[in-house]
């Protein structure tokens, strides 16, 4: 009867799973029969809810564990936030489960299979506890518990060992409590022998399987790296090559594109991933790159030492940018050199071009660039700016700031 409802239900679940994969378990509003425990759990475990419903039903028949577990999950699981009118329950399906439960109950009572006695209670409590722990855990944590890399670390082996010991202890205790240990001991011994035999037979196969898995893992990592490289080359290099072809009659633009791409590729290949907002060398390189891109003049950067940025260095970097922009705009130089050296007490940055140079006396008073942006800013921040230039001799700025002592 309810089997007919499965396809559409299942589709709904899969959609839900995709929508909120990895979230905490919630009681589902859509597709629930009672309060949504099974539906929610099925979503979480990616199982068909029918399986879980049957499991709860069976557990209920066996001394009522199912009811307890269901109630516990009901209490401890938040219900799914649902907007709009609550979906109707499929009462006919619910009736089918009830009927099934009653039938199973009758069978178990008649055969006496459900009478667990005292030994049942620890099982029930432990099981429910484990269930609650499991559903309360974060997805990431659960992932770790269920991780497929189990067996690769010592911790995992220890966990497996502890689990096996617990199960064995529980089994012995269970049999002892029932007074059947003596009777079962020979059977247990044979079971252990059989299991050991199977383990021996399967060991080579298992080892091979593990080796295979490791190989596949390596291969996958390699493929991912290759894919990343391909993606990078595609996004940057191929893109630039296309642009170069399109600008083939503009040598300046072609050179700019090629150089900018070269820089990017070098950074990607060789540079340690540096945060340009954090250290001097990375910040200087970024400023040089920006000026190079904006003005199409190559900027050669050499950095010696490095240090974290602070406010004064920030000011020095702004002055550096100003000096670079000035050189790029006015010096008519083929290349600009930047040299930044971080010493224990101070940081010195040189910006040099071999362009036409200028006479500082000729620069009008109201020109902000040199006086305010470079000299003024450096002095306000406790540093100094020295300019060496004369017509035809190129220009060199020397910017110095004391380092803040930690």
């Amino acid at each position: 009867m309810w089997a007919g409802a499965r396809p559409c239900l299942y589709g709904g679940i899969m959609r839900e799973v995709r929508e909120q994969e990895g979230g905490r378990m919630v009681r589902a509003a859509e597709g629930r029969l009672l309060v949504g425990v099974c539906q929610g759990m099925a979503r979480q475990l990616r199982l068909d809810p029918v399986v879980l419903r049957l499991a709860f039903l069976l557990l209920t028949v066996l001394d009522g564990v199912g009811v307890l577990a269901y109630a516990a999950l009901w209490i401890f699981t938040p219900s799914e936030p649902y907007e709009g009118e609550e979906p109707r329950r499929d009462w006919s399906q619910f009736a089918a489960y009830i009927a099934l439960g009653v039938a199973l109950g009758a069978i178990s009572t008649l055969t006496g299979a459900g009478a667990g006695g005292v030994a049942f209670w620890p099982l029930a409590v432990g099981g429910i506890g484990a269930l609650i722990l499991f559903q309360q855990a974060d997805p990431a944590q659960r992932q770790r518990w269920m991780s497929s890399t189990m067996g690769q670390t010592r911790q995992a082996w220890l966990r497996i060992l502890a689990g096996v010991l617990l199960i064995a202890g529980g089994l012995v205790g269970f049999l002892a409590a029932k007074g059947e240990l003596v009777r079962a001991s020979s059977g247990l011994l044979f079971t252990v022998v059989v299991v050991a035999g199977i383990a021996l037979v399967a060991a080579p196969w298992l080892m091979r399987l593990m080796a295979e898995l490791r190989r596949e893992r390596r291969e996958r990592i390699r493929q991912e790296e290759r894919a990343e490289m391909a993606a990078h080359l595609h996004d940057s290099v191929l893109h630039t090559l296309t642009l170069i072809q399109r600008n083939a009659n503009d040598p300046r633009e072609v050179a700019r594109l090629a150089r900018s791409q070269e820089r990017e590729l070098r950074n990607w290949l060789y540079q340690p991933r540096q945060d340009a907002d954090a250290t001097l060398a990375a910040a200087v390189r970024r400023i040089a790159a920006e000026v190079e891109d904006d003005h199409g003049i190559p900027v050669e950067v050499v950095c010696v030492g490095d240090c974290p940025l602070d406010e004064r260095l920030g000011a020095a970097l702004q002055s550096t940018r100003e000096a670079l922009v000035n050189a790029a705009k006015h010096a008519e130089t083929p290349v600009i050199s930047v040299y930044a050296e971080a010493e224990p007490e101070e940081v010195t940055i040189f910006v040099r071009d071999r362009g036409k140079g200028f006479d500082l006396a000729d620069v009008p008073e109201d020109r902000m660039g040199v006086r305010q942006s470079i000299i003024g800013r450096m002095e306000r921040n406790g540093g100094s700016a020295r300019l060496r230039t004369s017509p035809g001799e190129g220009t060199e700025w020397q910017l110095t700031v004391k380092r803040e002592q930690a």
Partner: protein
């Protein structure tokens, strides 16, 4: 007399490009495209200077240096890479200079002539590396003569790193170009002979361009 040069590079286009750009004082007597052909050509032609690519199939420039350094030719490394490992590695293997491939033809010609005369050629970046490598330690030097730079050598390297040509450095420091060359050669010798393990450790720790 012109300087006889062998170009070793696995890119044919690059070899012909360099050949076309070099000045009249340089005569290209041979080319090689891998380690074996390079060793053979150097042995046979006995060039004054070998322009040596760092990255090549079969062991790269360092392998060529290992097998052909004893021939008496001088080596100038030329590479697109200026990763610290490559730069320091090839210098310590015996090259007398290191320039990057974006160097202009006239600058390259100057560098070749300088190497042919037994001097060292440092690009700004190489100078930066050396300053960094020799500064990045608090440990006392094992051999003070080899393991640290003099104040003057440091000044010269700083000026190279700032983009100064030897002539400009000489003018700046009020010394002769010959003295500048002596300082640079002395730095090169320290770079090649110093056993300071910081040097190689520094180079590997900083896998940068």
């Amino acid at each position: 007399m012109s300087v006889r040069v062998v170009i070793v590079d696995d890119h044919r286009l690059f070899r012909s490009g360099v050949r076309a750009e070099l000045g009249a004082v340089v005569e290209v007597v041979g080319e090689a495209h891998d380690v074996d052909s390079a060793v053979a050509a150097i042995g046979e032609l006995k060039p004054d200077v070998v322009l040596l690519d760092v990255h090549m199939p079969g062991g790269g420039g360092i392998e060529v240096l290992r097998r052909a350094l004893s021939t008496g030719s001088r080596f100038l490394a030329l590479s697109v890479s200026d990763a610290a490992e490559d730069v320091i590695g090839v210098i310590r293997a015996g090259a007398r200079g290191y320039v990057t491939k974006n160097i202009s033809g006239s600058e390259l010609t100057d560098a070749i002539v300088r190497v042919a005369e037994g001097d060292a050629v440092f690009s700004p970046r190489l100078a930066g590396f050396v300053l960094d490598a020799f500064a990045s330690t608090e440990a006392p030097p094992i051999d003070p003569e080899l393991d640290s730079l003099t104040q003057r050598e440091r000044e010269v390297l700083r000026l190279i790193a700032r983009g100064y040509a030897y002539k400009e450095i000489a003018k700046e420091l009020f010394i002769s170009v010959k003295t500048v060359e002596t300082h640079v050669s002395s730095v090169l010798r320290k770079l090649q002979l110093s056993n300071r393990h910081e040097l190689s450790r520094w180079a590997t720790a900083r896998r940068l361009v």
